[in-house]
């Protein structure tokens, strides 16, 4: 074996990024490949709940225990990604008292701090809760930003020498003499940062070991080497409201059921979810009834949701796995625990391990176990440090300075920038030029956009997930062309245009499920801004050449035009 083993990690979700960071910190050579952006898969399409474990305290105590442990770790190492909102399990009069007690006991058994609060106390905490709720259990649930967390993990892995390749799809596993020895990768736009319009190409990446962390796609990677990995993808919907109706995570306290949780996230509140098995993790129906159910059912807990504005809905697929002998019919019965499948032991194919199942909240623990496992293969004795070393952005950050003065940012915007950037705030915000706001809904400034561009090439969707720009009420209506312009200092116009179109289309996709009421008015406004004011739907730069000479060139001029001669030049008030 060579001096330092080289590990190829497939999948840029929380699991893959966590594994890459852990291995890199232990000194291994790591290459992570992801077919889309970081968080392209389930991680970018989850609810954003930092579990206390309360949700599994009755049905799945092993997962519940892991959740509370990791909940504590993440508050520490990822403080700039976490908002400790607290959570409530709310009981309505028609919900079972017996289950309420089981939940309470379950929390105790799993070491989850839990306390009963009366209906009145719960409403004092959350005034929009229904008037007739009985009582609630309070638990340390939180909100977590999956994008920021994964980007921070990848950045940390890079700092420790890892190579991160996004928009690079694994098309085959290289198997030689009965052993996995590498992966074949198709780069969408050449290796390195993504730049639209750059020639792609294939690359063979040789590795001493391969880790398959592709979540719901794990079976597909398995297929490449004739392995059978029985992932059971199960979809769930989430509906985003335009404001935070609640500041605490609100769970319905009943055994299992759809539409039973609301998570406050940044300026929004996210309703969820459903649990339905699907065939294909990339192609499944997104249906109206699912959105309607979120609103109708959760209105029983928070009546104002019925009339509230939603800005979009999205779906994710859980990478559920159950060992072949269990055979659950209902996906909600499948364990939320994770499994490490060593294909040498399991299928007599050395060189690769798959990790399946699990939760976002436990990503770090999953990474640790895989890294232990891989190090074991190579006889490397290195301690895991990921539970102790804060992520970039969460280092030692106790600065409560006035960023308004320091960076010329108006106070609420300055505060939000600093919350997002954590300990990186100084680095990012200290720029020479003026730092105007690019995205007003989310308070994102030019310096943050530029910082994100540095990290993600010409990919505006990658800039979006790093900064939240275009993720607010207007869904990019007002800021997408500004974001595009920010790319132009570095990239050619044609690259910018392609990235811009891609962002617009991505923003449109999720809004489709929110198109009534205010959000339909917003969509009509956005459509007018982009198609009427800017004529982006018929942009001649994308289409057939235009015969300019056939159009009006000004009053009676050839090659000239009217000046403002017929307009008052005396400082009068009638010129336009």
């Amino acid at each position: 074996m060579g001096p330092t083993p080289h590990i190829a990690v497939i999948g840029g979700g929380s699991t893959g990024a966590g594994i890459a960071r852990d291995l890199a910190m232990r000194g291994l050579d790591v290459t992570l490949v992801e077919q889309g952006n970081l968080t392209h898969g389930t991680t970018g399409r989850m609810h954003g709940l930092l579990h206390s474990g309360g949700r599994y305290a009755v049905s799945d105590q092993a997962s519940a225990t892991e959740c509370i442990e990791e909940n504590r770790v993440l508050r520490d190492i990822a403080s700039h990604c976490v908002e400790m909102t607290g959570g409530l399990f709310v009981k309505r009069p028609e919900d079972s008292e017996e289950y309420f007690q089981k939940k309470l006991n379950g929390c105790e058994e799993c070491g989850i701090p839990a306390e009963v609060v009366s209906g009145e106390e719960a409403r004092a905490m959350e005034p929009h809760l229904a008037k007739d709720i009985d009582k609630a259990i309070s638990v340390p649930d939180g909100a977590i930003d999956p994008f920021r967390l994964v980007v921070a993990n990848a950045a940390s892995a890079q700092e420790h020498g890892a190579r991160i390749e996004t928009h690079s799809k694994v098309t085959d596993l290289i198997v030689e003499s009965g052993e996995v020895v590498g992966i074949e990768v198709e780069h969408d736009s050449g290796p390195g940062k993504r730049v639209h319009g750059t020639e792609g190409g294939t690359e063979e990446i040789r590795a001493d070991y391969v880790v398959n962390a592709t979540g719901a796609w794990a079976g597909r990677i398995g297929d490449m080497a004739g392995l059978d990995i029985e992932v059971r993808p199960s979809k769930g919907v989430m509906t985003i409201m335009n404001i935070r109706q609640v500041d605490t995570v609100i769970n319905r306290c009943r055994p299992k059921g759809d539409a039973d949780i609301v998570v406050p996230h940044e300026t929004t509140a996210i309703l969820g979810t459903t649990d339905e098995e699907v065939e294909d993790p990339e192609d499944y129906p997104e249906e109206q009834w699912e959105v309607d159910m979120m609103i109708d059912t959760l209105s029983e807990l928070i009546p104002m949701l019925d009339e509230a504005r939603t800005i979009r809905s999205f779906w994710g697929v859980r990478p559920l796995y159950e060992p072949p002998d269990v055979g659950s019919d209902d996906p909600t019965d499948i364990t939320r625990d994770f499994f490490l499948l060593d294909h040498d032991e399991r299928d007599d194919l050395p060189g690769m391990t798959s990790i399946v199942g699990g939760k976002f909240t436990t990503y770090r623990m999953m990474g640790e176990q895989i890294a232990d496992h891989v190090c074991g293969k190579f006889g490397i004795d290195a301690d895991c440090r990921t539970a102790d070393e804060p992520l970039p952005g969460s280092e030692d950050f106790s600065v409560l300075r006035d960023y308004m003065d320091e960076f010329g940012l108006r106070s609420p915007i300055g505060r939000r920038s600093v919350e997002r950037l954590g300990s990186r705030a100084d680095d990012v915000l200290k720029t020479d030029g003026p730092n105007p706001t690019v995205c007003e809904c989310e308070g994102v400034t030019r310096a943050e956009i530029q910082d994100a561009i540095e990290g993600s090439g010409s990919d505006l969707n990658a800039v979006r997930i790093r900064t939240r720009a275009s993720m607010g009420n207007c869904q990019g209506g007002f800021c997408s062309h500004r974001m595009a312009s920010e790319l132009h200092s570095e990239y050619d116009e044609s690259v910018v245009r392609e990235a811009w179109d891609e962002l617009l289309q991505e923003r449109w996709k999720g809004q489709r499920h929110a198109l009534w009421g205010e959000q339909l008015s917003q969509a009509a406004l956005n459509y007018a801004l982009h198609a009427t004011t800017q004529n982006r739907d018929q942009d001649p730069a994308d289409g057939d050449p235009v015969d300019f000479s056939a159009f009006d060139s000004g009053r009676g001029q050839t090659g000239g035009s009217v000046d403002s001669a017929d307009v008052a030049a005396d400082g009068g008030t009638d010129g336009y």
Partner: protein, 424 residues
């Protein structure tokens, strides 16, 4: 006692203003009531008549030629091409600072995103920027202003194939404006021409701006700025900059808040005032009385309902953006008179998956007879004395066709004129 008039126009956007103006010029006693600021605050201020056919053919050189072959449900077909011309004449007369009336041919104008778009009337301030004018062009952006990135706009324009060389430069705006100052702050500074400090010396703002641009000129004959050149005195500001720089100066229309749109709104309100109409803004019409005929409407003011009655009514409350058409999860409706709005029963049929797909919602609005009277589900007129104008009308996608202001002006004109004639 109700406040009375012969014609009552509800809505103060381009549709309502044109309607009230046409009725007043017809000699009727007109009252216009409007709730909030119209979509002119968001619109570019350009007056498009028809840039593309509903099938997407275009840019059209002659919008009038294409009107007779539009679908029958299109508002232009209801009023006819001659009325469109008459309506634009009224507009030209009421707003003399617009250009484009010298020809039937569409003009192509640069947009702030860097594309070009066909339009029929443009503010004089934009006229030196026409894309069919072959003079080389310098675009000047302001470092603090994220809505107009001049180098990006210039290279995008170049990619559209414009017949001239175009470059973009970015400057710091003279004077101490905050990083995210509103466009109105720039406009104000130039309107008042207040002195700003430039290297320790006090210089009037217009001159200071010209001084920043001057060294950047490389022989271009015209210079384009984002549309921030004054609210009250744009002509004088352009002239002053032009004199200092020795070139023609123009503005590129911008997104919200759009100064050209606001200037147009002001101009139309003054014209209406001059024509003698009574105007009330700030309060919504919330209710009405009447069965086949509207007897009166109620305006909500400080919690009270004030009745207004008229012989004829014009509904010009706008579309989804102006809130003249609204929707919920169950359907689409017109909130004031509950006029029928034809729409698909399944809300997932209201739009397409492609961003610029053939969205049905963009064509939602009331359907009318040839006299612009809204029709109920069984195609009978909802009320004998109600006409509709502007974006509240259905049957056309103004964003795709580039026909927004044109339809508002043409249908506003027709509705106002006919209401006045019938009020006799």
């Amino acid at each position: 006692m109700a406040i009375e008039s012969e014609v009552l126009v509800i809505g103060g956007g381009l549709g309502g203003l044109t309607s009230a103006l046409a009725a007043a010029r017809e000699g009727a006693d007109v009252r216009l009531v409007s709730y909030k600021q119209s979509t002119l605050r968001q619109a570019s201020g350009l007056v498009d008549v028809l840039g593309y056919t509903p099938d997407g053919d275009g840019p059209l050189t002659d919008p009038y030629e294409a009107i007779p072959s539009l679908p029958e449900s299109h508002p232009y077909r209801k009023v006819g091409v001659e009325t469109v011309r008459d309506a634009l004449s009224l507009f030209d007369d009421a707003v003399p600072t617009y250009e484009g009336e010298h020809t039937d041919t569409n003009a192509l104008l640069p947009t702030h995103g860097g594309s070009i778009k066909p339009t029929a009337r443009y503010p004089a301030g934009a006229s030196a920027g026409l894309a069919s004018d072959t003079r080389d062009t310098l675009l000047v952006g302001i470092e603090e202003m994220v809505d107009f990135d001049a180098p990006h706009v210039a290279s995008h324009l170049d990619a559209t194939g414009v017949p001239f060389d175009v470059r973009g430069e970015t400057i710091r705006f003279p004077g101490d404006l905050r990083a995210d100052a509103k466009v109105t702050r720039y406009a104000k500074l130039l309107d008042t021409n207040s002195e700003v400090a430039v290297r320790g010396r006090m210089v009037p703002a217009r001159e200071a701006l010209a001084q920043r641009v001057n060294p950047l000129l490389e022989g271009e004959e015209r210079v384009g700025f984002p549309a921030i050149l004054g609210d009250d005195n744009p002509g004088a500001i352009r002239d002053a900059l032009g004199d200092h720089l020795g070139v023609d100066v123009f503005e590129v229309p911008m997104g919200p808040p759009s100064l050209p749109g606001l200037r147009l709104e002001d101009a139309l309100f003054s014209a209406l005032d001059e024509a003698g109409a009574s105007i009330e803004t700030g309060n919504p019409v919330v209710d009405f009385e009447g069965e086949d005929r509207i007897e009166k409407v109620c305006i909500e003011k400080n919690g009270a309902k004030i009745p207004n009655s008229a012989d004829q009514y014009v509904l010009a409350t706008g579309g989804f953006v102006g809130k003249g058409v609204e929707s919920d999860r169950e359907g689409v409706y017109e909130p004031v008179f509950d006029c029928h709005v034809p729409h698909a029963a399944d809300r997932y049929d209201w739009f397409e998956g492609e961003l610029f797909g053939d969205h049905e919602f963009a064509r939602y609005g009331v359907a009318t007879d040839d006299d612009l009277r809204p029709l109920d589900e069984s195609e009978h007129s909802e009320f004998e004395n109600l006409r509709a104008a502007g974006s509240v009308l259905g049957g056309y996608d103004f964003a795709a066709e580039k026909s927004g202001s044109g339809v508002s002006i043409a249908t506003g004109y027709a509705a106002g004129q006919r209401a006045a004639q019938e009020a006799r």
